[in-house]
Each structure stands twice: as structure tokens, then as C-alpha cells.
């Protein structure tokens, strides 16, 4: 008997079939990986499985029993638990309080805190998950919060665990630990539906791999019968993006320092030191990758360079040490910024695609003529950028907030890299997080193009494969300073140790 069975699921939104007749089953003790591009229908499918969406057709069964459609409560009661990309945790509460929230064990009408705490600790222990039940959630890092979410589902009796892009926010070490946890849970008899873009980890963790494209299941097979090439082919068949040449290691950066940072310091939003004396240089025509575990100063560094955060020490762009005093002056100096939080910082979600493409360049041609908006010029430029970056839907008047995450990022990349005068410095923070292979390739190509035209690119990413593929050099940040530098061919091991501050800094 299958733990989870989806049969003939269809779900339309307006004229678009998000899921177009997918049948899948996951057995107890099995890890099934679900792979697909942005907008392929993965999220819709798991929302149907959790009862968040009511399918237009088809049935969801858990352990042989059909679930009432569109009833999340029934899905939870049937043992289906999902860990979403955005954690549903309450910061000021402790770990155990978050886990039991809404289903607190009671005694005489009062919450039985002792029992609750003990049960949470036991659930974590059994799954081999390191969580401190009494810690306040807001003090925990992303990886620990994710473990809390998993413990929450387990404590609530989940026998089918759905993980939506669980490694997108994790460092390599943390990802490794999560994959081991997933195997442990499966060995303990749970069914796991593992949604991911990253083929490497999928091939490592899954018993079977299902590929969805445009709402249909295009390939499903056992891990032993498939490989990265076959899965990639199934994923992007039809989108036909040729593999990009790996030019990273071959190129020599032009002489001439573009950006020089000396003893840079700044505070985080919470007023703690985030950068503590960071010094580095970036040359023209060079991509420097910034690696590091989240919270070691990379977000703040990007904000300083974009003019969004005050800093001590000096940083100069070709001799101009005041370029970062405001977002406007940074932009004027030729800094392009692909921000970490693209929805909040990168886009005005209620505005249209063309208006978002103009944002920041809106005072210059072809977007404006004198004090007036140049509606014709703006529309023309928008169409050009939409075509160049393959924005979908290709509609300049679509609301930016209605685009998928991948297309929103393509929109930001199009504006920052090609919307105005060629940038001198590109600051890209997790530019491909959550993007499908096709969109990732486009963003990577755009960054390489900017580099080849002589811009310096600072690329912050948690994905070491991405850094290796793009960067000419990798700089590791630890605790607000440069923990070391490596060539793109450095192993996970060395980078990982530097990221944890265990490797002494090297020139």
C-alpha cells in the first residue's frame, strides 16, 4: 500500500493548466524526488497533496484512504506533513512551543508544558535531529529553524513528509546533514517527497526521481536507472539552451583594480557588528564569488556597496570613495544590484513589468524625455528586454507581482544588467536562488556578459557549484572578515572548513 498516492491530478488557474494530469505514488520508506523548472507545477502539486488547493480532477489518497479535496486539516490528520520554503514559525516562542502550537497536550484544560517539552525532545531525538527544545526560535539559524519545522511535522504524526526546496537556504555542510536526516527518516518507514532543483543532491538522496514539465510527468525512474544527463534532458527538453562554455578558469582579469575595500566595518540591522575589518580587491573583468554561511556579513557587504547601509573603513570604486553614500549615487556610479530580497528590494510588485524595468533608470532615455515619461520608448525597451531575458508572460503590462519567482528574478536581472548604461560593478546576491535551470542559465549568462564587457562582479551565493561555475576567485567570509581565498577548483572540504572559520586565512 502506498503512503501517498496522487492520481490524475489536474489543476487550472484561469486558462493555464498548472498541473495537467499527474499521477504519482510514494511508498513508505521511500524518498521520491520531484524535479522541475519554475512553473512546472511542483508547488501546485504539493499544495494539492496538502489540501491547500482543491484539484479540478483526480484524487489524493493517504494509506489507501481518499482525502476530501481542499481540506488541509484532513491531510494533516491523515499523516501528511509539509515543510514549506517559508517557515511557519513564531520567533519569540521557544522551539517546543512552536512545535506543539495549536495541538498542545492538555491536562485539566491547561497546557501540560512538561509533557509537551518532553515529547518534542523525544521526537527530535528519535529522528536524530539536533534541536534545543528551550531555545527561542528567532535566535536560531536557518538550518536549525528548518529542523524545528521537520520536528513539528514528526511530532504531529506525519508519516508522509513533503520537503519543498529544503536545501535552497542551506550551506553545503548543512545540506549534507539534511540529506542524511532524510535517509534516516525513510529508513524509519516514513515516505518522503523531496522537491529540489539541485540534481546532485537529488541523485544522492532519492530512491526514485520524477521529472515534471509544464504540468505533466515526463519521466520517472529509479536512481540506478538514470543519471544527471537524462534528468537534465527531460527537464529542459524543448527549451534548448546550449550548455554555456565554462570560461571561468581560462580568463585573465584585466589589470586595474575596480573596487578596493580597506578595513570595512558595519553594523547589522540588530546593531551587532556584521563586518569587522573586511579588506579585498575586485578587478575589472573579474567575477569574485563570496562564499560563507548565512549571517557572516555577506548581505551587509552587498548593502554597503549598493549604498543602502552605512559603513566604516574605506571602499572606493576606481578611486571614488563616496560612491556608496546613497542608493542614488551608487547607481549613478554604475553599481548594478541584484538584491537578496528581490520582492521587497528589487521590485514594486503592484507595478507593471515595464514600469519595473524602468525603475532606477526612469529619468533617462529611452524611459523619459525631459521630465516626462517616454511611453513609446519605454514600451520598446521593455519589449527588447523581455525578449532578451525570455520573460514570461511576454507582456509589458503584466503585474510584476503576478510573475513566478524565476521570472521576477529575470526581470530584476534584465533591468540591472541591461536596462541602463552598462554597469561597472555588479553586486548579485543569491541571484539564482529558487530558479529553474533555464532561468539560472540566463542569469549566469547575463553576469558573464557583464564581466566580459569589463564590469567587476561580486557574486554572493550559498551554492558552491554556482560559485565554481562562474567565479574567477572565491573569497570566503567568516564572522565579518575574509577567512580566506580559493581558486574555483577548490573542494567542498576546504571551502567548508574556511566557511566555518577552521582554516587559517591565506593570501
Amino acid at each position: 500500500m502506498n503512503a501517498l498516492e496522487l492520481s490524475g491530478i489536474r489543476k487550472r488557474f484561469g486558462a493555464v493548466a498548472a498541473v495537467d494530469g499527474i499521477s504519482l505514488e510514494v511508498a513508505a520508506g521511500e524518498v521520491l524526488a520531484l524535479v522541475g523548472e519554475n512553473g512546472a507545477g511542483k508547488s501546485t502539486l504539493i499544495s494539492v497533496a496538502c489540501g491547500l488547493y482543491r484539484a479540478d480532477a483526480g484524487a489524493v489518497r493517504a494509506f489507501g484512504r481518499e482525502l476530501p479535496p481542499g481540506d488541509p486539516r484532513a491531510a494533516i490528520d491523515a499523516g501528511i506533513g509539509a515543510v514549506h520554503q517559508h517557515f511557519m514559525l513564531i520567533g519569540p516562542l521557544t522551539v517546543w512551543e512552536n512545535v506543539v502550537l495549536g495541538r498542545e497536550p492538555r491536562r485539566w484544560g491547561f497546557m501540560n508544558a512538561v509533557q509537551a517539552r518532553r515529547e518534542v525532545a523525544e521526537a527530535a531525538e528519535r529522528a536524530g535531529l539536533a534541536v534545543e527544545p528551550d531555545a527561542r526560535v528567532e535566535t536560531l539559524g536557518v538550518a536549525a529553524q528548518q529542523r524545528v519545522e521537520i520536528v513539528k511535522q514528526l511530532w504531529r504524526g506525519a508519516r508522509v513528509l513533503i520537503l519543498d526546496e529544503p536545501t535552497a537556504v542551506l550551506s553545503p555542510q548543512e545540506s549534507g546533514a539534511l540529506l542524511r536526516t532524510v535517509r534516516t527518516l525513510a529508513a524509519g518507514g516514513r515516505a518522503v517527497l523531496f522537491v529540489s532543483h539541485k540534481l546532485r543532491e537529488v541523485l544522492e538522496v532519492a530512491d526514485r526521481i520524477a521529472v515534471v514539465r509544464r504540468g505533466r510527468l515526463v519521466q520517472i525512474g529509479r536512481r540506478g536507472d538514470t543519471d544527471a544527463g537524462k534528468v537534465t534532458a527531460a527537464l529542459i527538453e524543448g527549451s534548448a539552451v546550449p550548455p554555456a562554455p565554462s570560461s571561468g578558469a581560462m580568463r585573465r582579469p584585466e589589470p586595474g583594480v575596480l573596487l578596493a575595500a580597506r578595513e570595512l566595518t558595519c553594523l547589522s540591522d540588530r546593531g551587532r557588528p556584521a563586518l569587522r575589518g573586511l579588506s579585498f580587491e575586485l578587478r575589472r573583468g573579474e567575477i569574485v564569488g563570496i562564499a560563507g554561511v548565512d549571517g557572516n556579513g555577506q548581505s551587509e557587504l552587498a548593502e554597503v556597496l549598493a549604498g543602502l547601509r552605512r559603513a566604516g573603513g574605506t571602499v572606493s570604486l576606481e578611486g571614488d570613495a563616496a560612491f556608496h553614500r546613497s542608493p542614488a549615487s551608487a547607481r549613478l556610479a554604475g553599481v548594478a544590484h541584484l538584491p537578496e530580497d528581490r520582492q521587497r528590494r528589487g521590485l514594486c510588485l503592484p507595478l507593471s513589468v515595464e514600469e519595473n524595468l524602468a525603475l532606477g533608470h526612469h529619468a533617462m532615455p529611452p524611459y523619459a524625455r525631459g521630465p516626462r515619461i517616454d511611453a513609446v520608448g519605454r514600451r520598446g525597451k521593455a519589449r527588447e528586454l523581455i525578449a532578451a531575458f525570455d520573460l514570461r508572460p511576454p507582456d509589458p503590462l503584466a503585474r510584476a507581482g503576478d510573475l513566478s519567482g524565476g521570472n521576477q528574478q529575470k526581470l530584476v536581472a534584465a533591468r540591472e544588467l541591461a536596462g541602463g548604461p552598462p554597469p561597472r560593478l555588479v553586486v548579485a546576491v543569491h541571484p539564482t536562488r529558487g530558479l529553474d535551470p533555464g532561468a539560472t542559465r540566463r542569469v549566469h549568462d547575463a553576469l558573464r556578459t557583464a564581466r566580459d564587457r569589463g564590469a567587476g562582479v561580486l557574486l554572493v551565493s550559498f551554492d558552491l557549484d554556482e560559485l565554481r561555475a562562474l567565479a574567477d576567485r572565491i573569497l570566503v567570509l567568516f564572522d565579518g572578515h575574509a577567512a580566506g581565498q580559493a581558486t574555483p577548483d577548490a573542494g567542498d572540504d576546504l571551502l567548508g572548513r574556511m566557511m566555518l572559520g577552521q582554516e587559517p586565512a591565506r593570501a
Partner: protein
């Protein structure tokens, strides 16, 4: 609010039928309410209509009231564009009215446009206070504009008008409470003999057009929209968001202030002793029903202006003129709460659509 904001900023494709349907529904409900309370609803609506559109006099009244509502509606709409909910149009309006009444007394050439400008400056400064408090002190604009309304009312009507600015009691004119009368030259010229239609109505339409142009066609208007649609993204793009918010609130206040000037220069000809207009608050309803666009606001202002004008005749069938406010309130409720209808509409649409094969 999310639906409203979506409609405020989305390029207009299907802009008005929702608001039109809500208006129609609110009239139907009002009709039913009139009927079930034992009034002659048909006659009532007949009077309502004739009071608003039945001949030159009523048309003039409608235009007069619509012109003020256009300005206060635009005031609220412009604030919404930069992301602020301005409840303070009433306070800005009476400051504008007072400024118009003061400038209008000066015996100088071009006193009428001067009085209008003075009103815009006074209302704009009052609006700017709320914008400044929001940007630099984090004071929520709903709180500050409500409080600023009370300050304006008490300072002007409790102190300035009955006190230092009161007309001298010994003057030859009939003794009315309020300030001295303005110059004849400051009066808005009447455009249609026998009616109270004055220059205010075309002026309000012209200002509505100018606001539309500013918001839709200029860089500055785009920056206001961007700040309202995403302050952080606008800031990161190099737009001085705080300054744009202050500008938007100043323009918002200036529009309401000009609305106050139209009342003084068009009909009152002095700042009267008792002056509770309610136009500032009705401006909120106008902007919401108008969907925040300049054209929609002007259209909604005409509808509500007609309602205000026609409602005076409802007394003929024994209905209190405040009945119009019921209709207006219903319209706002129906527009601001589209979620109430959304499920119903989708179900109706699904029923009329051909069945989907299983």
C-alpha cells in the same frame, strides 16, 4: 486593502465596471430600504433624480458639489498613490478655506487666483505636517491626520474665526458670524445665469486632468507611484522615498485646500461662523469608489455630488436628506469589500461556463 491597492496600481484594463456595479447595487439596496420602511421609493428616487439633474438649477447644484468632491477625492487619491491613507482632507480643506477668505479680502489685482494659491499653500502645509511626521518620526498617517483635523477645527473655528479674525460687529453689513466678506473680484464667476454653477467646476476638471497627467505621464508621478507601490524597492532604485512621500502629502493637502477655496470664493464669500462641510470625509468615499485614478475620482465625485444635490428633495416624501449618506456608505462598503462578492461571482461564472469534461 490588497485588492484596492492592486486596482490602484495595475494598468487599467478593466477599471470601472466593478465600481459601477457597486454603485448600482448600493442604489438598489437604498431603494429597497426606502420601500420596506414604508416610503414611496419610486417617488423618492424620482425626487432624487430631479433634484440632481432636473433642469438648470439642479444641474448647477450637482456641479457645484461635484467640484468640491473632485478636489477632496483627488486629495485622498494622491495620498494613496504615495502609499498614505489621508483621513485629513477635512482639516486641509478648512485651512484652505480660511486662507482663501483671508487672501480674498485683499484689494489687489488678480485676487481670485491669488486666493486659490493661498488656499493650496495652506492646505499643502497642513498635509505636509502629516507626511513629515510619517517619514521622520514614524507616526502613522491615519492617526496624525485624524488628530490634525481636530486641531484645525478647534484652532480655526474655536479661536481664529470667532476671535482675532472675526468681522467687526459695527460694520454696515448684516451682522453674520464669521470673517469679513471677501472682495467681489475674488468671487468665482457664475457661468450659467439662474444657477449656482461657477468657475469651480471647470477648474476642478482641469485640476483632475493635471493630476492625471502628473501621475501617468511624468517622471515625478512615476516616482510617487513607485514609492507607494514599494518603498524599499524605490529607495534601493535611488528614489528619495521620504521626500516623495512628503511631496505627495503636500500635494494631497493642497488639493483639499483648493476645495475649501472653491466653497469660500464660490458660495460663502467669507469664512462663516459655522462651517462643517463633511466634504473632506466624503473625499475618502469618492477616492475609494473612483479606484484612486483621476478619471475615476472625477466620475465618482459627479455621482456623489448628484446624490448630495438630489437628497435635499427627499424631504418632499418625508425622508431625511442624510439618506444619501446611506447610499454613499453602501457604495464604499461594496467597493472596498470585493471579497464579499468574489466567491459569488466566480460561482456564477463557473455555472454559466460549459461543463469541464472529467
Amino acid at each position: 486593502m490588497p485588492d484596492l491597492r492592486a486596482r490602484l496600481f495595475t494598468p487599467a484594463r478593466d477599471p470601472s465596471w466593478g465600481a459601477a456595479a457597486a454603485l448600482l447595487a448600493s442604489f438598489v439596496v437604498s431603494f429597497v430600504a426606502m420601500a420596506v420602511t414604508g416610503r414611496d421609493a419610486v417617488a423618492g428616487f424620482g425626487h432624487l433624480f430631479s433634484g440632481a439633474f432636473g433642469g438648470p438649477g439642479p444641474l448647477g447644484e450637482t456641479a457645484l458639489k461635484a467640484s468640491i468632491l473632485i478636489l477632496t477625492g483627488l486629495s485622498v487619491a494622491v495620498a494613496l498613490i504615495v502609499g498614505l491613507f489621508n483621513i485629513g482632507a477635512e482639516g486641509q480643506l478648512i485651512w484652505g478655506a480660511l486662507a482663501a477668505a483671508m487672501v480674498g479680502r485683499l484689494d489687489v489685482p488678480g485676487v481670485m487666483p491669488l486666493a486659490l494659491m493661498g488656499a493650496a499653500v495652506a492646505g499643502g502645509l497642513w498635509g505636509l505636517i502629516a507626511g513629515w511626521l510619517k517619514v521622520h518620526r514614524g507616526v502613522h498617517e491615519v492617526i496624525s491626520t485624524i488628530l490634525l483635523n481636530w486641531i484645525a477645527i478647534h484652532v480655526i473655528q474655536g479661536w481664529l474665526v470667532p476671535g482675532p479674525l472675526a468681522a467687526a460687529a459695527s460694520s454696515a453689513q448684516v451682522n453674520v458670524a464669521g470673517t469679513e466678506a471677501i472682495q467681489r473680484a475674488a468671487w468665482l464667476p457664475r457661468l450659467w445665469p439662474g444657477t449656482r454653477l461657477d468657475l469651480g467646476f471647470p477648474l476642478a476638471l482641469l485640476i483632475a486632468f493635471a493630476v492625471w497627467f502628473l501621475l501617468a505621464r511624468t517622471r515625478r508621478g512615476f516616482e510617487w507611484r513607485a514609492v507607494g507601490a514599494g518603498r524599499d524597492a524605490a529607495h534601493a532604485a535611488g528614489i528619495p522615498a521620504g521626500r516623495r512621500i512628503c511631496e505627495g502629502m503636500a500635494l494631497s493637502g493642497a488639493l483639499a485646500g483648493v476645495g475649501g477655496a472653491l466653497l469660500i470664493l464660490g458660495t460663502e464669500h467669507r469664512y462663516p461662523g459655522v462651517f462643517r462641510t463633511g466634504y473632506g470625509f466624503d473625499g475618502i468615499a469618492v477616492a475609494l469608489v473612483g479606484g484612486g485614478s483621476a478619471a475615476g475620482t472625477a466620475a465618482a465625485a459627479v455621482v456623489f455630488g448628484a446624490l448630495r444635490a438630489g437628497a435635499t428633495r427627499l424631504q418632499l416624501v418625508g425622508i431625511h436628506p442624510s439618506f444619501a449618506e446611506l447610499t454613499q456608505g453602501l457604495a464604499v462598503l461594496l467597493v472596498a469589500a470585493p471579497r464579499l462578492f468574489q466567491p459569488l461571482l466566480t460561482r456564477l461564472r463557473a455555472r454559466s461556463a460549459p461543463p469541464v469534461p472529467p
